[in-house]
């Protein structure tokens, strides 16, 4: 009886992971294996790096109470426009430009954060205004034109691959070795942590379950790195994404600051009465969103090898969708960085798979919309007993 209960709990917890696995298999079969060609696996990262980064930032906004940031797509474009103009029109050093882009992102985030957190203008309004303003400003900065090409030092930061030190023909051994080291490190850390907890007499999950979980994750990482090694190795974008994800999942799960975000979304009044500055939490969410939009802006400029006034269109929707599919609650207070990664990957896989299959662009949107809807319905309904809400 108890086991059965745990099984259904686990099913609920890992629903999206199971869905993701199912979708990958479905596409692999339907595309005759093309889906998992090394180049396509590589593209999955390169094309979706911005989604991972924006969705991570968006999670913090959503955690505070289901608040979203509509301006990120425009902000990505605006940051790109600034960077492009600095590097190409004025010939300023790419690294200086990089710093300027980051600062402008933070300032834009602070601007919106101020109105939302301290003046309490609804985030929807503030960021809708931001969406219009930053899009307009991008056009003003670029004078409606596309600037290219982007200088090489900048491109190589985001666009190239981690160099292979072994030089094997057709297989990037460095890449695969990093994968193995990552898995080993992961195993050791988890098991050491488990033993430490056990020694202190705290509750631990059963050893078998932990090992199965670790093994599954390791297999996925290894398979993934193997595919990348078959192509050109680790794309730099993956490094950036990993760093961002690593830092932010640490913040959410281990720090007091992260705890404040969950608390505000869970019950703002109780949080305020616990001596926590809730205004500051809102402010930080949007400030940070601005910074991550800048990072995504850098990646986008490098990927397009240009700064153009239409870049970043609808990026906010991808980020918001990834968060909700990844289990963030539309009311705030729940959601994790790993969940968002699963959500973003699912969106990416859907995009990639349907493109390979040659599904019509418009139909692709229908499918993505349906998946988003289904995910949120599942989230909302699974939390209460009846399907139809009681009055």
């Amino acid at each position: 009886m108890k086991n059965k209960f745990k099984f259904s709990e686990g099913l609920k917890k890992y629903t999206m992971v199971i869905v993701l696995a199912f979708v990958v298999i479905l596409f692999t079969v339907n595309t005759g294996g093309k889906m998992l060609l090394p180049q396509n696996v590589n593209n999955l990262i390169a094309q979706n790096a911005y989604v991972f980064i924006l969705a991570t930032g968006m999670l913090f906004c959503i955690l505070t109470g289901g608040n979203i940031d509509l301006s990120v797509g425009s902000l990505v474009c605006f940051i790109g426009a600034i960077g492009g103009t600095m590097m190409i029109t004025f010939g300023i050093n790419p690294y200086v430009s990089l710093l300027a882009m980051a600062i402008i992102g933070v300032l834009a985030g602070a601007w919106q954060g101020f109105w939302i957190a301290y003046v309490r203008i609804p985030p929807f309004i503030v960021t809708l205004a931001g969406m219009l303003m930053f899009r307009g400003l991008s056009n003003v900065v670029l004078q409606g034109m596309t600037l290219s090409p982007i200088p090489n030092p900048f491109l190589s930061l985001f666009n190239s691959y981690v160099p292979d030190i072994f030089g094997m023909e057709g297989f990037n051994l460095t890449c695969f070795l990093i994968g193995i080291i990552a898995c080993l490190g992961f195993f050791v850390m988890e098991l050491l942590g488990r033993r430490r907890r056990q020694q202190k007499g705290y509750h631990v999950d059963p050893l078998l379950g932990t090992i199965i979980k670790l093994s599954l994750i390791s297999i996925v990482i290894l398979a993934f790195m193997y595919k990348l090694a078959m192509y050109k190795g680790i794309p730099n974008a993956l490094i950036w994404v990993t760093v961002v994800i690593g830092i932010y999942s640490y913040i959410t799960s281990k720090t007091t600051t992260g705890r404040y975000f969950y608390a505000v979304g869970g019950n703002e009044k109780a949080t305020r009465l616990s001596g926590i500055d809730t205004n500051k939490v809102y402010f930080l969410a949007y400030l940070n969103m601005g910074f991550l939009a800048a990072v995504a802006g850098m990646i986008t400029v490098a990927r397009l090898n240009s700064a153009n006034p239409t870049a970043g269109n609808n990026y906010e929707m991808d980020a918001i969708g990834a968060c909700f599919i990844g289990g963030a609650s539309a009311y705030g207070g729940t959601g994790t960085v790993p969940g968002v990664i699963v959500g973003a990957t699912l969106m990416g896989v859907l995009n990639l798979g349907m493109s390979i299959m040659g599904v019509d662009q418009n139909l692709q949107k229908v499918v993505k919309g349906a998946v988003l809807m289904a995910a949120v319905i599942f989230d909302v309904v699974s939390k209460r007993k009846s399907f139809i809400a009681k009055q």
Partner: protein, 544 residues
Amino acid sequence: MREAPSKNNGKGGVILAKILLEMKNITKTFPGVKVLSDVNLQVEEGEIHALVGENGAGKSTLMNVLSGIYPYGSYEGDIIYDGQICEFHYINDSENKGIVIIHQELAMVPYMTIAENMYLGNEKGKKYAIDWNETYGEADRYLKTVGLTESSHTLIKDISVGKQQLVEIAKALAKRAKLLILDEPTASLNEDDSKALLELLLKFKKEGMTSIIISHKLNEIAYVADKITILRDGQTIETLDRNVDTISEDRIIKGMVGRELVDRFPKRHDVKIGEMAMEVENWNAYHPLYSDHKVVSDVSFHVKKGEVLGICGLMGAGRTELAMSIFGKSYGANISGTVRIHGEEVKLNSVKEAIGHKLAYVTEDRKGNGLILGNPIKINTTLANLKAISHRTIIDKDKEFGVAQEYRDKLKTKCSSVEQNVGNLSGGNQQKVLLSKWMFAEPDILILDEPTRGIDVGAKYEIYCIINRLAAEGKSVIMISSELPEVLGMSDRIYIMNEGKMVGEISAEEATQEKIMACILKSDQHSEGILGTPKERAKQQEGE
């Protein structure tokens, strides 16, 4: 139609009158608590019937049963209205029969006109087209009936609370009310508005309207009511009849509080009351939205080390507002006054500063203001003192787990583990988690706001033990409570608050329920003085 003889009230005098409403043996239970048990109520046609009782006596619940908010089947007993047994499933069912309830909190949409509010959900005209001419015309007519001169085109937000109350009555009339139920209609009204409202009720009575009025203001009840039914702890105690009994406030108070004080409180041994812990002087606070409404007015009090201080009063007396405005200005505007902690004057401008000065406020609204229901016990336990379990902002989760378990054991919180979400715990256990949270913040002075509201007797006893233990450790406990027996049983000293003011201070030895109730209810009269004694009333009426 049923012509029933009025009950024989034991003093002879059997009068024939039509019984409009009879509620028979009504019993209503919420999970774990019996709120009404075998309550009987008889209302004659054309009378004003008052329902009185302490907070939580079951008055509002009884009226919710009557109006169908608690639908047929969720309670036991019969409602006989106009000679028929009724089964109300929705509010509409009772309204169609002419039973209209006006709730204590006004339910108006501020940015709609008076007329739109009056006919909300009950629109005039055809199904697909509202007849605005008829709506505004009818509304104006009803407004005149209740004595309002405003046009029905006025927005609700532009009229005073007193007038809004009258609009509610006009709305009820528009629903062709035969039985009007008013829940604390004068709670938020000033002197003149209250008087106008009561006069209006008397005028309606002459026109044949039947009303039930729930009120704490006994002078008002003594003024308008023909009969008074007293509820206590979910039971009908007695019904007083103006024509038979002498209705005095003391008589009503006796009925309201005449409860046996059984040994429900743990004894405290070696009470050692030490030096002064906190002094508050001339404390004032205004309502955050209505800046001319003073919620706390010139309050001064003090508490010593190791002392349990009770603050009692009726709902809306300003106790919570007082506590929250002191606790880092978390309520109110234009707050003024001085706070001295251990003899030193302190400025508590934020909750953080208040916690820093070793003050804790345990809210009365544990679900709304206290706990994060969707989070586990351990996260709730540490939220007010994350510093103690983290090193350079990095949380030591093992330590957090240990702390949560320590407090679970200390307070005997019943749960499967500290990983359990607090939303799944019973009220008493939620309260214990809330107490854990504030005990972990290591305060010297704890303000407990209604610490035992909505929890069962066993859990109450345990909470009382915790309070005594805290006091024995030399902490100062300020207990705000509406339950008089609790205040009497637990406190070393008692303050009585009413309408934002401290109206009395009494030592535990001298205090009795009657004394406290009288203090509250009589201060009402002093401050309002609207009706006074019958003689004064007659004078007033002559004056007009």
